[in-house]
Structure formats: structure tokens, C-alpha cells
């Protein structure tokens, strides 16, 4: 439904990001572009600053240098009040779910709606329930507290909350970590279905090779404090040793990439 003119604006455009903590430089002139409507995977070893990058893009952390544009708006130059409206335009799921433990699943989904929209009570109830049902949770699960949910249900509930404000852009931080392969495949299926039907742009941090091959159109790898991005085929052929060992290890062999396919 988005007009074709808007498609020209990248969903995310980060230029020259520098993040330093004390003497340690995490990102040094990192560039990243995410086109509207694609599923972009962020990959990198432990400690390469995937989570810091995510926090930078979300506007939770100001980089020492560089700019981050979400749908053309530069976050690094915004005051807090203006950031608020940008934050309403994307949805995030955190690694451990980060559901509010004193609220039920339904109330967790309603919270962003209550904060950002002025909805009539019936719409609030039904729209929250719609999102809960959309991620494959039963109405009974909606009344439960996070402590009563299984790991897979927590991931789904977090996704429902991320969808609360009908965002066009979704960030998923390790969406399939801690799930069994079947559960992970089902979750990927769900995310891809929503991506297709709601024309979402998705950025996900993941370590799960299965998940990357199932879902991502393009992949960005953080190596040497910068990002190497491209389609899966391009990245798999990239000569960097870390990328080679990541995509050509034993784990990757079963995808047939080791033979240069």
C-alpha cells in the first residue's frame, strides 16, 4: 500500500558510525543501508558490537560520530521529544523477550498503544487481541503473565508487542535463540508470513545459519569494526577469513555453500 515514491527512501541508512567505549573502539566508520521491504540479517562474532549497533539504530545510544537515518529522518540530530515519534514507527523484540513481568501478554501489547495512540476501549482490546492471535498465540495465552509462558511463547508475545503500533520496520534481536530447530523454523515461517502480508522491513541479528538461509534477502557482517553487506551469494564468496570460516564451517556445509554453489 506504500506509494512507490517512498520506496526510494531507504528504511535505514547509517553512515560513518563510530562507537567508542573508553579506549576500546567498537565501530569505526561503519556504513549500513537497509532497503524497504527486505529482510536484512546482521551477523558478527561475539563482541563485534551487534547489540551496540542495534541500540545505535534504535536511538537508544548516541554514536560518537556518524548519522542514522530511519525513513530519511536523522536520529542523531533529534531531541528526545522528536525521537519519541520515530520510536513509534518501528517495533523491536529483545533477545530475552523483555516482556513486562507485572503485565499480562495482552496488557504488554496494549502498553505501546496506550502510550502512543488514543484508541477507544473496544478497539484497544480487540486490536491487542488481533496481534496476539496474529503471532499464533491463543486467547488463553493472552491472559497469562510472562512467567507462565514457555520460551517459544515469550518470543511470540514479544513479537506481538513489537507489532502493537503497526510498524513498517521491525527489529528482531536473536529471534530464534533458545528455540528448538522446529520451533525456530516455525518462528521464521511466522515472521516471513507477516513480512509478506504486511510489507514489513525486517532487520534481524542472528547466529542461526538455518534462520539466515531461510529468511534473509541480504546479510551484513561486522568485521574489522565495519560492515560488509551483500546478498547471501555475494557474502558467501567474500574472501574475509572470518566470513569464510562462518559460512564454510562444518555447520554451513549442509547448505551446499562450501562447494561454491
Amino acid at each position: 500500500m506504500s506509494p512507490p515514491a517512498a520506496a526510494a527512501v531507504p528504511a535505514i541508512e547509517a553512515r560513518g558510525i563510530v562507537n567508542r567505549f573508553g579506549a576500546q573502539t567498537v565501530h569505526d566508520g561503519l556504513d549500513m543501508t537497509v532497503v524497504q521491504g527486505e529482510v536484512f540479517g546482521i551477523v558478527g562474532g561475539s563482541g563485534t558490537g551487534k547489540s551496540v549497533l542495534l541500540r545505535t539504530i534504535l536511538g537508544l545510544h548516541r554514536p560518537q560520530a556518524g548519522e542514522v537515518r530511519i525513513f530519511g529522518t536523522d536520529l542523531t540530530r533529534l531531541a528526545d521529544a522528536e525521537l519519541r515519534s520515530v520510536k513509534a514507527s518501528y517495533g523491536v523484540t529483545f533477545q530475552a523477550g523483555a516482556l513486562f513481568s507485572s503485565l499480562t501478554v495482552l496488557q504488554n501489547v496494549q502498553l505501546p498503544m496506550l502510550e502512543h495512540l488514543s484508541l477507544p476501549p473496544r478497539a484497544l482490546e480487540e486490536l491487542a487481541m488481533l496481534k496476539v492471535r496474529l503471532v499464533g498465540l491463543s486467547p488463553e495465552a493472552a491472559a497469562k503473565y510472562p512467567a507462565q509462558l514457555s520460551g517459544g511463547m515469550v518470543k511470540r508475545a514479544a513479537l506481538a508487542r513489537a507489532l502493537a503500533l503497526d510498524p513498517r520496520l521491525l527489529f528482531l534481536d536473536e529471534p530464534t535463540s533458545g528455540l528448538d530447530p522446529i520451533g525456530a523454523a516455525a518462528f521464521d515461517e511466522l515472521v516471513m508470513g507477516l513480512q509478506r502480508e504486511l510489507a514489513l522491513t525486517i532487520v534481524m541479528i542472528t547466529h542461526d545459519l538455518d534462520s539466515i538461509f531461510r529468511t534473509c534477502n541480504r546479510v551484513g557482517v561486522i568485521v574489522d569494526k565495519r560492515m560488509v553487506a551483500g546478498t547471501l551469494q555475494e557474502i558467501v564468496q567474500h574472501p574475509h577469513p572470518w566470513i569464510q570460516s562462518y559460512f564454510h564451517g562444518d555447520r554451513a556445509r549442509r547448505f551446499g555453500v562450501a562447494d561454491g554453489a
Binding site: 480487540e126 512467567a147 503500533l165
Partner: protein, 372 residues
């Protein structure tokens, strides 16, 4: 304008325009609600003019279609089928007339049930508390024969946290309390010219009661809450389960070092509070009554009996155990949510202070019967 309705004989034609999204929903919803479907045979919906349609907008259309169906009106979408997003909502929510919300449980007040439930939960709480005290005592006794279980480094850390770091606030409060006692008693005793007895009141009051009691109350607020919150957060984080799985008793590594640390720290804090209290009295007597320091300390010496100091200090380890038990026990009870953590931390502090004051009252009666 988001929608325009036009009636042609038995057909009601809706032409939609603009953004049908979450932001526009509060504007559109009343317009749709005001729509009169009665008498219309067919509802024609033309969504071609919609510039943005998200789930919220699609839900409005889904809801409208359901309403029409319930009223026996046929819905005809322009182009044969509804927009894809509306179909998604249809698929997700189905065509149930009523929303599948969980029925709200009705709270009826049944006095007998409530009373019974309260008695049972209170009884269970008392049992659990007793079990906790029992296990802690057993561990403590077992530790006597096994010095390794004392975790010296951990105990020292807790003496530092609960004792050394509390010195400034404890000293300040002891000083202020002695000022209050001296000032109040001086006002009364000056009338009789018995101002020398101000010294007795300050000395006996601070050493026997006020020094130890206020120190214990401050420590209950500082460390009782810290114990409950630390252990509670570890429970939420499954750290306590991890300890058990490794085969280490949480009682031994979490509860006992804290209790021991506090048992060591609180008597020492009490001595400091006593000393500062006496000094505060000296300053005030000098300023208020022009009593020289020499005379003040002479009188202090005369007013202190054999037991005056010890009556205060003896109570300190008991208070320390009560505070540590309340804090650690409530911390161990935390499960599920961060709200529980806050609630039980509050309970820990209130209970610790209550237990300290109750114990103090029992001590007062006991010491009077013993004649000391």
C-alpha cells in the same frame, strides 16, 4: 475525510479515502459506528482510494463487515475481494460474532471463604518461615564444626557493606537522638534545678535503649532491604537455581554470610552509636547548661551501672539475626515478576523493624524481671 456514504435504493456505497491506520483510527471509528446499516441490502465498499492501510485500519473494515453480516447485509468489495490486509485479519480472527476475549472473572465477596483462605495462607506462611529458620539454624550449627563453610571473604564483605559503610549515618542519627533527649529532659529538669540528671537520662537512655534500637532500625532499612533485593533479583535471574544445581546450598553462600556479617557489624555499630550519643550529650550540656566536660563525664561515670552498657549491646546480635532472617527469607520467596521483588522487599523491611521492636519489648520485660 476518510469515508463517504451514498445510498442508492437498497445499496449503501462506501468510498474510502486517506490513511486508514492506527493514528487515524480514533477519527474513523465514530464515523463507522454512526453508519446506519438498517434497510440496506448490499454494502458496497470501495477501498481503492486508501493511501495507507495497516492492521488497525484493516480491523475497522473487518469489524464493519462482521457487523453487516450480523445485520443480514451482503458485503460487496470493489474488485471482488477485500484488500489483502483485511483478509489477513479475517483469517486471524475468524468470523466469530463476539470477540474471543477471556471472560472476566467476577469477584464475589464471600466472607467465610475469604477468612478460610486467609487462615490457610497465614498458616502456610508461618510454617515456611519456621522451616527457613530451622534450616538456617542447622546450617549454622553444622558450620561450627566445619570452618570452611564460614566463607570468611564473603562475611568480611558483608561486614564492610552493612557495618563500615553505615557508620556515618548511624553516628549522625545517634548524635541527633542524644540532642533530642538532652534538650527535652533539660527543659523539664531545669524547673526543679535538677539539671545534673540530664546527664543520667542521656547516658542511660542512649546506652540501654536508643543507641541499639535506632541503629537496628537504620540497619533494617539499609541492609534488610538490600538482602531481600539482592537475593530476590538472584532468584528472578535463576541464579539461586544455578547454585542448587551446582550442588551449593544457597543457604550457605547467600544467607549465612549475610547473617554472620550483620551479627558482627551490628554490635560494633551499636558501640559507635553509644559513643557518639554520649559525646553529643556532652556538647549539648556544655552549650545548654554550661556544664563543663569534666563534670559531665564524671556524672556519666557515676550514672553507668555494671550492666547499663551491656544491656544495650547484648541485644544487638539478636536484632541482627532478626533483620538478616527477614531480609533473606523474603528475598528467597521472590518468584515470577519484578513487582514481587518490590513487594517482598517492602515486606522484609517492615517485618524486620517490627521484629526488632517486638524483641526490644521482650528484652525490656526480661531485664526488669532479672533486675538489671
Amino acid at each position: 475525510m476518510h469515508l463517504q456514504a451514498a445510498r442508492r435504493e437498497s445499496a449503501l456505497r462506501l468510498t474510502l479515502a486517506g490513511d486508514w491506520n492506527a493514528r487515524a483510527l480514533p477519527l474513523i471509528e465514530p464515523q463507522l459506528a454512526a453508519l446506519d446499516l438498517a434497510g440496506a441490502g448490499v454494502l458496497e465498499v470501495d477501498a481503492a482510494g486508501v493511501t495507507a492501510l495497516d492492521l488497525s485500519g484493516a480491523w475497522l473494515l473487518h469489524d464493519l463487515a462482521e457487523r453487516a453480516r450480523a445485520a443480514g447485509v451482503t458485503v460487496a468489495w470493489q474488485g471482488g475481494r477485500p484488500p489483502a490486509t483485511v483478509e489477513l485479519v479475517d483469517k486471524t480472527l475468524g468470523h466469530e460474532a463476539a470477540s474471543p476475549l477471556a471472560p472476566r472473572s467476577r469477584h464475589e465477596f464471600k466472607p467465610v471463604t475469604a477468612l478460610g483462605r486467609t487462615v490457610v495462607t497465614r498458616w502456610e506462611a508461618a510454617e515456611a518461615g519456621l522451616a527457613f529458620t530451622g534450616e538456617a539454624s542447622l546450617r549454622l550449627l553444622r558450620g561450627v564444626t566445619r570452618p570452611r563453610a564460614w566463607r570468611v571473604a564473603s562475611v568480611v564483605r558483608h561486614v564492610h557493606e552493612t557495618g563500615i559503610r553505615a557508620i556515618p549515618i548511624v553516628a549522625l542519627i545517634a548524635f541527633l537522638i542524644s540532642v533530642i533527649i538532652a534538650y527535652m529532659s533539660a527543659q523539664q529538669l531545669l524547673k526543679f534545678g535538677a539539671d545534673i540528671y540530664v546527664v543520667d537520662l542521656v547516658t542511660v537512655g542512649v546506652l540501654r535503649e536508643m543507641g541499639v534500637l535506632l541503629t537496628a532500625i537504620i540497619v533494617a532499612g539499609r541492609s534488610g532491604s538490600a538482602f531481600a533485593a539482592e537475593i530476590g533479583a538472584m532468584r528472578l535471574n535463576e541464579e539461586v537455581d544455578a547454585l542448587k544445581a551446582i550442588g551449593v546450598s544457597p543457604m550457605e553462600v547467600l544467607v549465612l554470610p549475610r547473617a554472620l556479617g550483620l551479627v558482627i557489624a551490628l554490635p560494633l555499630l551499636t558501640v559507635i552509636a553509644d559513643a557518639v550519643g554520649i559525646l553529643g550529650g556532652a556538647l549539648l550540656c556544655r552549650g545548654l547548661l554550661d556544664m563543663p566536660f569534666v563534670q559531665y563525664f564524671q556524672r556519666v561515670d557515676e550514672s553507668i551501672g555494671e550492666w547499663t552498657f551491656w544491656v544495650g549491646v547484648i541485644k544487638a546480635p539478636v536484632f541482627a539475626l532478626l533483620i538478616a532472617a527477614a531480609g533473606a527469607y523474603r528475598g528467597m520467596q521472590v518468584r515470577g515478576s519484578s513487582r514481587e521483588l518490590g513487594r517482598l522487599t517492602t515486606v522484609a523491611v517492615v517485618q524486620a523493624i517490627f521484629l526488632v521492636i517486638l524483641a526490644d519489648a521482650i528484652f525490656a520485660v526480661l531485664f526488669m524481671e532479672m533486675g538489671i
